[in-house]
């Protein structure tokens, strides 16, 4: 960026049709053959929930699930994952039904400014799908590639633990999660 001479390193690329199953929907878009997945998702498929924090694999904001694995979309060539199943933060909830991991991030302070949140959600969802009973160390390893500048991670880890309990079907956790969002002011019958 800071430099005088323009050295074109990448020859002009061809456009091609990129397709994939993004959040359960088949998408077909026209993209340059050298596009990175992050750009395709944000600019072509409308998944603006995928965030760009650094563009070089250091912040984890751009994490998406590719065939069940959390990957950094800023370091992934779109072409290489053409045809894959991709889940972004938009695909976690069913319509307006929040997934447990989303609900727990909201309820336990796992999200402050929220910019890192989509990446954390995907990384932790991927962990929970494989291991609904993770230790603290396993949680830490799952989110070690994600940077959060606001929360200091502690409440994020707590959110993931709470969501894990729901994934395990821990009755109490499910109930308390629902209770947290039952009517805060239950009202008597109208007369």
């Amino acid at each position: 960026m800071v430099g005088e001479d323009f050295v074109s390193m990448i020859p002009a690329a061809q456009s091609e049709i990129w397709y994939g199953e993004v959040n359960g929907q088949t998408k077909e878009v026209i993209a340059k053959s050298n596009s990175i997945l992050l750009d395709v998702l944000r600019d072509k498929t409308g998944c603006l929930g995928v965030k760009r924090g650094c563009d070089m694999g250091t912040c984890g904001c751009c994490t998406v699930m590719i065939d069940g694995e959390p990957r950094l979309s800023c370091l992934t060539m779109a072409h290489d994952v053409s045809g894959s199943k991709i889940t972004t933060v938009e695909g976690l909830s069913d319509g307006s039904h929040l997934a447990p991991i989303q609900q727990c991030f909201a309820d336990h302070g796992g999200s402050q400014c929220g910019f890192c949140t989509p990446g954390f959600l995907i990384a932790s969802q991927a962990l929970l799908e494989k291991n609904p009973n993770p230790t603290e160390q396993q949680i830490a390893c799952a989110i070690e590639g994600n940077l959060c500048r606001c929360t200091g991670y502690q409440q994020i880890v707590q959110s993931i633990q709470a969501a894990a309990a729901i994934h395990r079907g821990d009755a109490e956790a499910v109930a308390s999660n629902n209770a947290a969002h039952a009517d805060p002011h239950p009202s008597g019958p109208e007369i």
């Binding site: 069913d94 039904h97 729901i166 499910v174």
Partner: protein, 934 residues
């Protein structure tokens, strides 16, 4: 995702077995807000203060707003009101604003540290197909800056570039590729000038200072601001000196490291008004600066604050790229979006100042602190930014919470050819605080006393004045220290742990809102304004300009409104994004939002409350004073069955006027001294914190791991404990980064070597210690329901706590942050050489044998505990000034009782020779006082 699910919101399934819930479904019975029900939710007595008959403990006494508490949300762990937008990816940050027909803007930046721009040739770029607009400095010659006194920035370079990355030109094109290509076609001719990188050199006269301030320029140096402050008497200290500490510190520059890079979208709408979308902490200052630079009246600009992906001070200046986007959009007649890459964020910087700080502390034979001397040379980089304020904060915020015999401060901020430093969480107070607290640790060691007791015996009480004349109201410092001492099991560990394990303490003190904000006219504007509006549906819309940057300000404001009106939080909607609809707010800085905006919101809510009570009184034919509000119902206190619903009362009060509208404002009380600079650091309240940190140091490698932190913070009253804890832990993380790993590294040629997160090391989850947040509630008499700030103050103590813990672990003090393994190892080897050791595992660890002073300190702090709790609870309301501990009369200002006491803001000629590094800036004269000055 589970595919066996029928997407049909609310189909008899309020609760789903998999734990998901039906969003947007709340059982408000029709017609919406609770009719005239015979029963209602009981008041939640756990959250009604005990002095009002509830169960909420009030160890620090009552508050005048307690009677408006309804037990609805204040004090409860409340998820952020915008949390659902954030967890679903629907929160819209700067780069998520996509307008139809948008262009992509790109900025061309200087490759030189310091150069004159001789010519800019844009013709090639303009010819490139797809390029729609190109702009250079000539398009916007007006200067701006965040402080009205130091407007030294341009949208793009007008004459000179002042650091690598300084803006020179910008282009807008149909896509990013074209824009990047065009950027490279712009030909710029520079004449390279001699750069200054070392702040010490900034103090010297040069041929071509980075900025020129005319008659006010200090010599022909690069000194941007110099400060001298003296309270008390320097001479009288030396005889009573029992212990003396002298610490010379070096602090590296630190970047905010927010995750969202800057981004801006500008669009001139068909009526010719500018719509500017930007993640700003302080939209109002951007608004002002845009108006100046674009030469458009403010009412023709609508600044829309998007969600802000972290600010920490780094998004509070008006930025040149915001002007660039607006200029390009005006030229192109189409929306322009500019998004930074991470490297550009570092070029814009505004992070913590690299500093050279020298601290001297004296203590007398009773272990009273007879004086602080601070000399701070701070490296401002290429622009002034918040520099005036930072220069003061480095000194004046270091005095409290201690009672001092004297205080001397010299500070200087110099321009250098680096990206500008600015405001960052803990603005100006962090570095000196670290030096002071480590100094006190050293003093305690020399006096052979426990550093916690040393502090406890030298604290200012609640409702007192600091040596610089700041008015302290509530003060939970003592409880904070005692709680962390207890929690960490301090007495069992301090100076008793084996080599490589250590424990340390640090304290903090920070402003809760600045008493004299930047763009402010005390006669015309309040500090904060909030409008409330209730239409017939009963929902409350809160209009505030407070910028929610993730700290949860919208939540706090919604909470206090819900609390006063006894409405569910879901019925309160905060609108804070647009300057068109929001009242002017001075922004999210200096930890002012909770204190000022929540106070303003309470004011507005009280107005509505009164109208509702009057209406209900009219319907029920009882006096409004006899009514209570609770859960969408207003009823007679002694017989809850007699009442009306909130809606009925609302509709009654709307009969003649339509919507209920109220406006509340907050203004600080008059305060502060009259000396020059007296306003810097003034605040309506101050927060206090104390941390204990435990570290493991690997003596073979110098690697430090912080394992445990007990973090006590006095936030007055935790409106939302969940958010307060989040702020404490988050502050801990950020401070830990500065003390252990984060630094902006400028190489030998002055080039920034690590403008990315790969080499700029922010702690990951593995580096985080186990933090135990401890909330101290001292109930501030003027805070909203007693609240003070929690966003910045908690950052301060972690640095010294870790440095002190490292000393406890290996017996070596390192005054050069961050404590990277190489520095620690170098210090260890030096010590080994000195002691002629071969194995670092033979290093001696510091030990502690109490001297007889320890007893005295304990006695004194016990006495003071009593004094403090009486003052906190307003049982003792006598005046208390700094100096009482030294025998001064609390009712008279020191200068009237002690002729050696002086307050001075300028060195006299006899002092000029023995000033410190930064102080030497005073040896130069301003141009207007120089013979033949320019």
């Amino acid at each position: 995702m589970s595919k066996d699910y029928v997407q049909q919101a609310g189909m008899n399934k309020d609760v789903r077995v998999d734990g998901k819930r039906v969003a947007g479904k709340m059982r408000f019975n029709p017609p919406g807000s609770g009719g005239s029900r015979p029963e209602m939710a009981e008041r939640d007595m756990e959250f009604i203060p005990e002095l009002e008959g509830g169960n909420e403990a009030q160890p620090a006494g009552g508050h005048f707003q307690d009677k408006y508490r309804t037990g609805t949300t204040v004090g409860k762990r409340t998820p952020l009101v915008d949390a659902n937008a954030k967890v679903t990816g629907q929160a819209w940050y700067g780069d998520d604003v996509r307008l139809a027909n948008e262009l992509i803007g790109r900025i061309i930046r200087s490759p030189y540290h310091y150069a004159r721009v001789k010519s800019v040739d844009t013709s090639e770029a303009e010819k490139l197909p797809g390029v729609i607009a190109v702009s250079t400095g000539v398009d916007a010659p007006s200067q701006f800056g965040v402080l009205p006194v130091t407007k030294d920035e341009h949208a793009m370079a007008v004459e000179k570039v002042r650091h690598v990355g300084d803006l020179v030109a910008c282009v807008a094109a149909v896509d990013e590729e074209t824009a990047r290509h065009a950027a490279r076609l712009i030909k710029i001719e520079y004449e390279v000038l001699d750069p200054v990188h070392d702040p010490k050199k900034g103090l010297l006269d040069v041929d071509e200072p980075i900025h020129w301030r005319g008659p006010y320029h200090i010599g022909s140096t690069n000194v941007q601001k110099r400060v001298f402050q003296e309270f008390g008497d320097r001479g009288s200290l030396e005889d009573t000196t029992q212990a003396f500490h002298n610490g010379k510190w070096k602090f590296m520059g630190v970047n905010h490291g927010f995750t969202e890079p800057h981004a801006v979208v500008a669009h001139w709408d068909p009526n010719g008004r500018l719509q500017l979308y930007t993640p700003q902490q302080v939209p109002h200052y951007a608004h002002r600066a845009l108006s100046t630079v674009l030469e458009v009246p403010m009412h023709q600009i609508n600044v829309i604050r998007t969600f802000v992906g972290g600010g920490f001070g780094g998004k509070s200046d008006p930025f040149p790229h915001e002007m660039c986007a607006a200029i390009l959009a005006r030229k192109a007649g189409r929306p322009v979006r500019i998004t930074f890459d991470r490297e550009e964020v570092f070029w814009v910087n505004r992070g913590r100042h690299p500093s050279h700080i020298e601290v001297k502390i004296n203590a007398n034979d009773e272990a009273k602190i007879s004086g602080f001397e601070i000399d701070a040379l701070i490296d401002g980089g290429g622009f002034a930014s918040f520099g005036h304020v930072t220069s003061y904060y480095n000194g004046v915020l270091a005095t409290a919470p201690y009672e001092l015999g004297s205080f001397h401060y010299t500070g200087a901020r110099v321009w250098t050819n680096k990206p500008a430093s600015g405001a960052m969480r803990g603005h100006g107070a962090v570095n000196t605080r670290c030096a002071i607290e480590v100094g006190l640790d050293d003093i305690a060691e020399k006096l052979k006393v426990d550093p916690v007791d040393l502090r406890l015996a030298n604290l200012l009480p609640p409702h007192s004045k600091t040596i610089t004349g700041f008015r302290i109201t509530s003060n939970g410092m003592r409880q904070a220290l005692e709680r962390v001492r207890e929690g960490s099991n301090w007495s069992e560990k301090f100076r008793k742990l084996p080599l490589g394990k250590g424990i340390g303490i640090g304290c903090g003190f920070f402003i809760s809102g600045s008493g004299l904000p930047i763009h402010w006219d005390p006669h015309n504007f309040p500090h904060a304004t909030v409008h409330l509006q209730i239409d017939m549906d009963g929902g409350v819309t809160v209009h505030t300009g407070a910028a929610d940057i993730g700290q949860g300000s919208s939540t706090a404001v919604a909470q206090v409104v819900a609390e006063v009106l006894a409405l569910p939080l879901e019925m309160v909607h905060v609108r804070s994004h647009e300057s068109d609809t929001s009242p002017v707010d001075l922004g999210s800085y200096s930890s002012r939002v909770t204190f000022m905006n929540a106070n303003a919101a309470i004011g507005a809510a009280l107005e509505i409350r009164e109208k509702l009570l009057n209406a209900a009184g009219e319907i029920l034919d009882v006096e409004p004073e006899k009514l209570v509000l609770n859960d969408r119902r207003i009823y007679v206190k002694r017989d809850p069955t007699i009442g009306v619903s909130y809606l009925d009362a609302l509709h009654k009060s709307q009969e003649d006027i339509g919507a209920l509208i109220a406006s509340g404002a907050y203004r600080t009380p008059p305060m502060g001294g009259i000396h020059k600079g007296a306003a810097a650091g003034l605040a309506p309240a101050y927060s206090f914190s104390a941390y204990v940190a435990e570290v493991d140091v690997d003596v073979d490698t110098g690697q430090i791991k912080c394992t445990n932190v007990w973090a006590a913070h006095d936030c007055g009253k935790a409106l939302n404990p969940l958010a307060v804890e989040g702020q404490i832990i988050g502050s801990c993380h950020m401070g830990l980064g500065q003390v252990l790993s984060e630094q902006m590294v400028y190489g030998r040629t002055g080039h920034l070597q690590n403008p990315n997160f790969l080499e700029y090391k922010i702690p990951s989850v593995h580096e985080m210690p186990n933090v135990t947040p401890i909330i101290i509630e001292s109930c501030d008499p003027e805070g909203p329901f007693g609240a003070k700030e929690a966003g910045e103050g908690p950052l301060l103590p972690i640095l010294p706590a870790v440095v002190n813990a490292v000393y406890d672990a290996i017996g070596v003090r390192i005054n050069d942050l961050p404590l990277t393994p190489d520095k620690v190892w170098a210090a260890i080897s030096k010590k080994m050489k000195k002691l002629k050791l071969d194995d670092p595992r033979d290093l001696p660890v510091p030990t502690l044998d109490f001297s007889e002073l320890q007893k005295k300190l304990e006695e004194r702090s016990n006495e003071h505990r009593l004094r403090d709790s009486r003052r906190q609870r307003m049982e003792d309301t006598g005046p208390y000034l700094n100096g009482v501990l030294f025998g001064l009369d609390p009712t008279l200002p020191p200068e009237e009782q002690d002729e050696t006491w002086k307050i001075s803001v300028k060195p006299d000629s006899s002092q000029l020779d023995n000033l410190g590094l930064a102080g030497s800036a005073w040896t130069k004269k301003e141009q207007r006082h120089m013979a033949g000055g320019k």
